[in-house]
């Protein structure tokens, strides 16, 4: 019998992931705490803003604090256009960061909402170059469809604006992406609590990415662990098939389709 976990494992690009939790690194109080936190959360993928990577620094190179047993996913934070995102992806590759890239193109500094059009352009170009591309988007079906067609390895819609910890505000739209898009949907940004991560997973999201919720927790280590448990619980619930929840509205006292059976008789 195949191990159930293996059977359910998430595959992105050429990689089979050991868990469905991704962790962001931009907001922690000390980069040296990262390995412990990543392990506490059993994260499979860790994203790092290339803008912050300082390879010349002996003490402050964040890459030195990313464990070898996770997948490194550099991101293009700071890019305002597709051109800048592509340039950053090239720099990441030149630095030896592998071929995964999270496309983040943001030209709105008030809410940090992604620019879907530029993100699509960058994705198209980088997929052609052989990158494993995970674009971060405002949840919108047509954009997600075009990204899928362009060869994105996954699509990452936000739950709420980055850093807002407001939870799954885009639930309806994310559900549509989960239902209609064939590549994995990874909910990224805005998730404030483990219960919200569990909810995303119950809905059928392939994985979730968190940063602020863990980094700003009273005890980041415990919170990483909590997210790990929540993601696993939500996934198991999804696989189990959640119970039928009837929507509001009374059912008619006599069956509406009873006449069909009468006719049969």
């Amino acid at each position: 019998m195949i191990n159930k976990l293996e059977a359910d494992s998430l595959k992105i690009g050429k990689e089979t992931l050991k868990s469905r939790l991704f962790i962001g690194t931009g907001k922690f109080s000390n980069n040296k705490k990262m390995p412990e936190i990543i392990h506490a959360g059993n994260a499979s993928v860790v994203t790092v803003a290339l803008r912050r990577v300082d390879q010349k620094s002996t003490e402050e190179n964040i890459l030195d604090n990313i464990p070898k047993d996770v997948i490194l996913m550099p991101n293009t934070s700071g890019a305002r256009t597709a051109k800048e995102a592509i340039r950053i992806a090239h720099l990441a590759k030149a630095m030896g960061c592998g071929d995964w890239i999270k496309i983040e193109v943001i030209s709105d500094n008030r809410y940090l909402l992604p620019d879907n059009q530029e993100t699509l352009l960058a994705t198209e170009a980088l997929v052609k170059e052989g990158f494993t591309v995970l674009p971060y988007i405002s949840p919108e079906l047509m954009t997600a469809k075009r990204l899928e067609d362009a060869g994105a390895a996954a699509v990452m819609p936000f739950a709420a604006p980055i850093g807002s910890n407001r939870g799954l505000r885009t639930k309806e739209l994310v559900q549509i992406l989960i239902d209609e898009i064939d590549v994995p949907i990874i909910v990224d940004a805005g998730i404030g609590r483990p219960s919200e991560a569990a909810e995303c997973m119950e809905m059928g999201a392939a994985a979730v990415l968190v940063n602020t919720a863990v980094a700003t927790a009273g005890n980041p280590l415990k919170m990483a662990e909590a997210f790990s448990l929540a993601v696993a619980a939500g996934r198991t619930a999804f696989l189990a098939g959640t119970g039928r929840v009837l929507s509001a509205g009374a059912s008619a006292s006599s069956p509406l389709t009873g006449f069909l059976r009468k006719e049969e008789a």
Binding site: K27, S29, N30, R52, V53, E60, R80, R110, G163
Partner: protein, 370 residues
Amino acid sequence: MPAKSYLEEKQQYNGLDFADFFKKVTDDDILRVLVKDKITRMDFLKLLSPIAQKHLEEMAQRSRRDTIRNFGYTMQLFTPMYIADYCDNFCVYCGFNHNNNINRRCLTMDEIAKEAENIAQTGLKNILVLTGESIKYSPVDYILEAVKVLRKYFDSVSIEVYSFSQEDYVRAVEAGVDGMTMFQECYNKDIYRTLHPGGPKANYEYRLDAPERACKAGLRNVNVGALLGLNEWREEAFFTGVHADYLQHKYKDVEIAVSTPRMRPCSAGYAPRSIVEDIDLVQYITALRIFLPRAGLTLSTRERPQMRDHLVKMGITKISGGVTVAAGGHTKGDDDGQFEISDPRSVAQMAQMLYAEGYQPVYKDWQTLI
């Protein structure tokens, strides 16, 4: 229709009587503002009112929360590098005033490289270049040539110099400049005129429009500010915040930041017209954060160490270290600076303080893509 310029935008407040507005603000008003998610410009002004000081702890708590949510437990480090202090202006409060008898310097490209080498050893990967305003000694070409040299040592270069034309800001972007800082110094036009009696800086409108020209030219970061002490601070604080809000709304792709410099003694010997107490500065910084949760807030060594150590916990996102405010100061030491600094700590000492306060010091936050 959005306003064409901040000058136009600002006109809607021409009739605003600050004293009268503040008189009407109540404790309830402040409490109502503090529970709102997103506050308006007039809410911001309420938070700047004298009565809001009674609620300073709540403001500080909210400011800290908003800052951590948006920026995490991280703090950007930077240092200024003065490369020339010749100046054609007559700003009455500034050590570089044309009439001041100081030893003027204008660094050669070799001297700039030497300074850069010394600063780079601290681990900083970004640099802020400053000059006085001198057509003869520090023209745009000289500054851009210096930028070329500095890019060999730093991943990102910003400038805090005189107002450029939009074409010159475009040239700066092409030369690899990522950011600019431009203090209006004083948003009150009448007082501005008395403080800037001569030289190109006497043109209030041209300076007021400089940050917007920089946004249009494609700079990534634009930092505004008023020099506190030149006018009643609450009015200046309001117009600074509204300036940042105006730019942030209109130029969404530009990261807008605000500095809150308080006047320091300098060789010009000018006494501040209005005294800004510590409690006022805390009120200003926390009100700004609540009003503009995503704006960078920069803190200089005009503040003393104890004050800076407290302020990093309630709103600040960027702080300087290893500071000298004299041209060539990173090689030759600090004399004849623009003003007296209050915090002499090195970059390493600042990093140490940040770690102790639970913050990750950020030495590099961008890499020029040109």
